[in-house]
Symmetry: C2
Subunit: 471 residues, 2 copies
């Protein structure tokens, strides 16, 4: 385990970069940008790792453009770093060796929608909100919601999930097929529009979550869902995190197809009261949503209310009216900004882990104790149906001691999750910042196997180098 991989990563020689930039300029004209301001927007901006700007940014309009850019970079041994909306947290878009950022924001075509098959093919730069806007009139939606309005190529690349993964799955389950530009600039198509297949290795799942280290995703074919006839939602206070987790476990076990079940800890509820001018009891809170028929969501809501009461929580306040639901869920929707506002001037360092839900209460409680013992300010928000939760330490980045304390806290959080048979990240991905935990999670043999895959598919190590296995 080398915690300094990032710092020690060798930069590509300047003459190689220069030669690549010259060729890229000839091919892309003003769709190659090398201004410092634009380069600075195309690297890590949301977390505590240093920003490492690329040497230039290319804006492809087609898969052929991406292929051309990759082929030029290959010829000169220059890294390529795919860029969607830049909303990832773990340094995914940094260029530790220098290189060219491939910004997919001009690749916005919604290529085809098949309402009868409930699928859609989009170019990588389409964001989830843009897609849902396009689908609304057809009575369809794409459920994966990681919070940010991320690009669908980026969401596939980081194996994103979010609030309603508990019902609809993550990008792992919702990507049917991909178009990918490989490390040699070839264009491949993984998967078909058929719902399932046993025809060979699962190339689609190999690229989903590979964070651009094996190839660049240029098109994504996604499963869609019909907009539910009825939605009910509401919130429910609990005397403790344990009680809220127990209610979650019973809900899942009972087979209630809950669409969203989100935990806010007491500190986060306090932050929301301050930020959104609410007067919620400052105690752990579950925000819950059900999708189905009118009768179905009523039945499910009532059943959940009974479970909550059984676990010492309640009352469960819920409604099927859209405006009312929005009001009840406001604290959840504002959670990130409310937490940030708790400590003006500090940087919010969002991190996540995921554990089996039987261990969730224990993991959250131990983490809260750790926050208190560390003297940090941090809130906890969890996609608890999946055992996934976020901690948001608010750190004064000008205080090196506090930064070090924050980093040590994240290290303990990961160790705690791994000790409970969990994972170092449920949805944020590895990027640069969680690389040092992969050996503990997968074992030396598992990590060696990942390295063998990377070497087989990217022998020159130019696809987003310095991330995940960092050859």
């Amino acid at each position: 385990m080398n915690a300094n991989i990032q710092a020690s990563f060798p930069r590509v020689p300047a003459e190689q970069v220069k030669a690549a930039l010259t060729e890229l300029a000839a091919t892309f004209g003003n769709r190659l940008v090398t201004s410092q301001a634009v380069r600075d927007q195309h690297c890590n901006t949301l977390s505590w790792t240093a920003s490492q700007a690329p040497d230039g940014v290319v804006y492809p309009q087609t898969v052929e453009d991406v292929s051309a850019a990759v082929r030029i970079c290959v010829r000169h041994g220059v890294p390529v770093i795919p860029f969607g909306t830049g909303t990832s947290f773990e340094g995914h878009t940094n260029a530790p060796a220098g290189g060219i950022s491939i910004d997919t924001s001009m690749m916005k075509a919604i290529v085809s929608v098949h309402p009868e098959d409930l699928d859609v093919t989009v170019e990588a730069g389409v964001t989830r909100k843009e897609l849902n806007e396009h689908l609304r009139d057809m009575g369809l939606f794409f459920p994966i919601d990681p919070g940010a309005d991320a690009s669908l190529g980026g969401m596939a690349s980081t194996r994103a999930s979010g609030t309603n993964a508990v019902r609809y799955g993550t990008m792992r389950e919702n990507v049917l097929a991909l178009e990918v530009v490989t490390a040699s600039g070839e264009v491949i198509h993984t998967g078909r529009r058929a719902r399932k297949s046993s025809a060979g290795y699962d190339l689609t799942r190999l690229f989903v979550g590979a964070e651009g280290t094996l190839g660049i995703i240029t098109k994504v074919t996604l499963k869609l869902h019909g907009i539910p006839q009825a939605i009910s939602g509401g919130l429910c206070p609990f005397p403790s995190v344990e009680a809220a987790c127990q209610a979650t476990i019973l809900t899942i076990q009972s087979g209630i197809p809950v669409a969203r079940i989100e935990l806010l800890d007491a500190m986060q509820v306090r932050a929301c009261n301050l930020y959104s001018k609410l007067s919620l009891p400052e105690t752990p809170m579950l925000f819950v949503e059900f999708h189905g028929t009118e009768a179905g969501v009523r039945e499910q809501s009532e059943f959940f209310g009974e479970i909550a009461t059984e676990c010492g929580g309640g009352p469960f306040e819920w409604t099927t009216k859209a405006e009312e639901r929005t009001r009840l869920w406001q604290a959840r929707h504002d959670a990130y900004w409310a937490a940030i506002a708790l400590r003006p001037g500090a940087q919010g360092i969002s991190t996540d882990v995921c554990v089996p839900i039987s261990r969730l209460a224990e993991c959250v409680a131990a983490t809260q104790e750790d926050i208190a013992a560390s003297g940090l300010v941090a809130t906890i928000v969890g996609h608890v149906g999946d055992g996934n939760f976020h901690v948001l330490p608010l750190v004064d980045m000008d205080d090196p001691e506090e930064v070090a304390r924050g980093k040590a806290f994240v290290g303990r959080l990961v160790e705690r999750a791994l000790a409970m048979e969990g994972t170092c990240t449920g949805e944020h991905g590895v990027g640069q910042m969680k690389m040092k935990y992969l050996e503990a999670e997968h074992g030396a043999e598992g990590l060696a196997l990942m390295r063998a895959l990377k070497k087989a598919l990217d022998p020159q190590n130019i696809m987003n180098p310095g991330k995940i296995v960092a050859l």
Copy 2:
């Protein structure tokens, strides 16, 4: 595309095999078997490809045994072929180069059940029925049902699915983690018990569906589900395959969480009437099942009945009573044996394809026409919610002309599915028999990428060689 790969596959030199057998005998004693009878049981028995027996069969009891057997075979360059229950159709268990069959039938431990987390870890040799027997008293079940009582290691290896994949997904979605013995005899663990993870490449999905060509699965951690409070089920006649498919599409689009939706074509219904002494109308028929609360399954059944009527079908005869459901579903349960009985002495050659459901009616109708034009006897049964269907030509294996006609028919079936953006196999896998279609499905570049993966993980080409990409 080389249709003769199988025939031209070079055998491992006899002295290498002999040396490996000597070492295996020393390690495994009477758990190495080399009798012709046992070897003949450990190769293809269910399809029209020639049987190619292994040189010996090892019965490991532990993962260490599997690792020891693989290391011995590696030293002597002798192939290893994993074997579960031998119920696969595509020649997966054949030993075209010779080698050692690794029979997991003594690896029957149910290692751990976590009811709160809805997961279980089993050794590879546990069958799905054995698992469900073990789980019943806990109110839990494992839904994937490919028909045969296959081993869970084999089901993971072939990415199996079956009747209720439409609701619960396939092995792709239901395997959380694996223990695998690699081509060098190392033991790796892919995945954790957390429900989701973004921590690096998806090694689990790489081995699921790899048919033992990248490593041998020794343990499987699976998602479980609560036994539904209520189940309703029944059957519904339709005037045409088109009408039945249209009802299926509307059902899925409406978001009705149908647990099973199975099509039998008129020929299959006739076979069931003969075999099971029923008097069903000999017309296309949907067999449907819903899982949920009492109120939920009633609502869903009624809604489906309305859709069926709208599509010109019906009446939908359904019930929530277990015995009644079994009676209504009898034709579906007996379908395979009923079809086989249509032509005594003939061999049933089960094959499958999967297409987007909007193309399903067209694909089934064209296939029925092709059956008639080819002068074959063949029935069609489909997991139509997924666009997946089986064709079972009944072939006189002593008539080479008829065998050739049958094979040509399967070739056209695959071409038809691929032309409709489908796949050459939805659930049976590639084995030896669908290798020749992979280039048409994945393109030369996609297939080359699969080969690169195989070379990276199995450089000596000893893991079930001659299957999928057949280096």
